[in-house]
């Protein structure tokens, strides 16, 4: 499957939706161009997809690092809530999660 090296504004809009970022029309246009340009330089990476070599996820060789299930340090609750945009009775307040039908 070929690598996308042309991007339409609607391609960018779909990615922005997934990434939860509101972009304006100028940004959609700019990023369509930028992404086309950038991904156009990545053909060497694309070609490596055919290689049978295993992908590297991490370089340390560590996996599943565990610790004892014990409570140690805890952060201060009041300090945590103090940096929140909106709180009520010790809880974070957010706008409605579900849209009205």
């Amino acid at each position: 499957m070929g690598y996308m090296s042309t991007f339409s504004e609607s391609d960018v809009a779909k990615l922005a939706e997934v990434a939860c970022i509101q972009l304006d029309d100028e940004e959609l246009k700019q990023f369509a161009k930028d992404l086309a340009d950038i991904t156009g330089t990545l053909t060497e990476v694309q070609d490596t997809a055919a290689s049978s070599v295993a992908p590297t996820h991490r370089v340390t060789g560590l996996t599943n690092v565990l610790r004892p299930d014990l409570v140690t340090e805890v952060l201060d609750r009041a300090e945590l809530l103090a940096s929140a945009p909106d709180t009520l009775e010790g809880q974070f307040v957010v706008p409605q999660i579900l849209e009205e039908a």
Binding site: I21, Q22, D24, Q30, D37, V45, D47, T48, L80, P95
Partner: protein, 504 residues
């Protein structure tokens, strides 16, 4: 005012002998910052109270004959993407303006345990994404060598703070070269430790498999001393490893004959076309100095270094897309609402927060990351990049069977003008020599090795296998000594000595 011209280790010795107090050192640092920061803009926040409190504590303990870390009382600066409890941390982003972290990064906790006064937070590209410190909401930082030029990025503030003698050393972060490139552009030493050598807990994540916190200083020994303080295994960072940051200062202060018989591999792919003449001339002289000291210098071909930049610009945005998902206006940071919607949902609020709170470069990289991780593009995107990563790991491992260290110029060019507005692809080329070390987890150092025809610093990079940080510092210290005839170890005057006439 002379103490800020000294090295960190000289300051430490003077503190121990009683020649100077920590309060005096901090006051000098603060005065230097007050003089120069309006022009240089290295610091985005100065913590006069906090720094003096630590300094007073150190002086009191010392006068009572109590135990202190050898570097206690020496001022230090911290990049503003490393969290400091109770002290605003912005990552140079609108989305975190005014955010007061409720915890200290592990590296900050270690500085505090050792009682080094933290004089302030330094400027960076927004969320460490950039090579010029121009994407910061705090305005750009200027290169102290030539204030019309960039100090590089993303740790431009830390580099400028050290290069302008505001502090003897500072912390930065390096994901694709963000410590080493600004070190190269400002003529100082910058180190990316072995991946895992220093805890990333509290260093706001850009790319979790690539990021490392590391030291910037004006000489190799000071950098080693700082890495010893901040490094080590951390239960709060499950990717951290013990060992690499221990016992590294000794080799840096006494490198001995390490260059005699040392096998040095000069990487063919990061030399030649695209590299400025001034960079290459100094690089050749460095090779000459190594050979004169008895090193066996050979050429090494690492073709995977050519694909490495592309792989980096797939892996890093993908990991950034994942990591920056946490900035959603819910629990901390700024919250923005969309215009023209009466009862926005939480999702719409988050989208507006991120749209208004993130800068252009950040948004560009997040979108790119979403793209290379998407189902249709995963195989030729993220997964393919991880295969390139494997090839780079294997190739360098093979090379390290024949050579002890690899040598490259740190950057293709010297510092360029502020406002140069390179397009993304030109900008990304800055990282071509530095990203391989991040991809493979190796330790690497940027070492000043001369100046170009305009007097701008140039730099050489030494790389060692992951885990060999002690060797890195030892070799770098020996090269630093070998070059001290070619290059003034403090190869510039602070800009105030240039008549104080900084940028227009």
């Amino acid at each position: 005012m002379t103490w800020m011209d000294k090295t960190a280790l000289e300051m430490a010795a003077a503190l121990q002998s009683g020649e100077v107090t920590s309060v005096e050192l901090v006051e000098e640092s603060l005065e230097r910052i007050a003089q120069l920061n309006p022009t240089v803009n290295a610091f985005v926040k100065v913590d006069r109270e906090g720094a003096l409190r630590t300094a007073e504590e150190v002086d009191a303990i010392r006068s009572e004959g109590g135990d202190l870390h050898p570097l206690a009382g020496v001022p230090v600066a911290v990049k503003d993407n490393i969290v400091t409890r109770g002290l605003e941390t912005t990552c140079a982003s609108k989305i975190l303006e005014g955010w007061i972290p409720p915890y200290d990064a592990t590296v900050v906790a270690k500085l505090k345990d050792a009682k080094l006064p933290i004089v302030g937070k330094t400027n960076l590209d927004e969320f460490a994404m950039g090579s010029t410190t121009e994407t910061s909401i705090h305005g750009p930082t200027r290169n102290p060598i030539d204030p019309q030029r960039t100090p590089g990025g993303s740790s431009g503030g830390s580099a400028a703070a050290v290069a302008a003698y505001m502090v003897p050393f500072a912390l930065g972060t390096d994901t694709g070269g963000s410590i080493r490139q600004p070190a190269a552009f400002t003529g100082i030493v910058g180190v990316k430790p072995t991946y895992g050598a220093v805890s990333r807990y509290g260093a706001v994540a850009l790319a979790s498999s690539l990021d490392q916190v590391g030291p910037l200083a004006r000489n190799v020994a000071d950098a080693a001393a700082l890495q010893e303080i901040i490094g080590g295994h951390d239960p709060f960072d499950s990717t951290s490893l013990p060992g690499s940051s221990e016992q590294i200062l000794a080799g840096a202060t006494n490198p001995g004959n390490v260059l005699d018989g040392l096998k040095v591999g000069v990487v063919e792919q990061t030399r030649g076309e695209g590299y400025a003449p001034g960079v290459l001339t100094a690089f050749e002289k460095t090779i000459g100095a190594l050979e004169a000291a008895g090193a066996q210098v050979t050429d090494v071909s690492l073709p995977s270094f050519e694909g490495a930049l592309g792989a980096y610009y797939v892996i890093m945005p993908a990991e950034a897309y994942s990591n920056l998902g946490r900035f959603d206006g819910v629990e901390y940071g700024q919250r923005f609402y969309p215009d023209g919607i009466e009862n926005p949902t939480a999702w719409q609020m988050s989208a507006a927060t991120r749209g208004k709170g993130f800068g252009t470069e950040v948004k560009r990289r997040i979108i790119l990351g979403a793209h290379v991780l998407s189902a249709e593009n995963f195989k030729t995107g993220f997964e393919a990049a991880e295969k390139v990563r494997t090839q780079t790991v294997h190739e360098t491992a093979e090379a390290f069977e024949d050579v002890d260290v690899l040598l490259t110029p740190t950057t293709p060019t010297v510092a360029f003008a502020l406002g140069a507005e390179l397009d993304p692809i030109e900008m990304y080329q800055n990282d071509v020599a530095t990203v391989p070390a991040n991809l493979i987890g190796a330790a690497a150092i940027a070492l000043p090795n001369g100046n170009d025809e305009d007097g701008m610093p140039v730099s050489a990079q030494i790389m060692v296998p992951a885990g060999s940080d002690a060797l890195l510092y030892q070799v770098a210290a020996a090269v630093e000594q070998a070059l001290s005839g070619n290059v003034n170890p403090t190869p510039f005057e602070p800009i105030e000595a240039k008549g104080g006439e900084a940028a227009k």
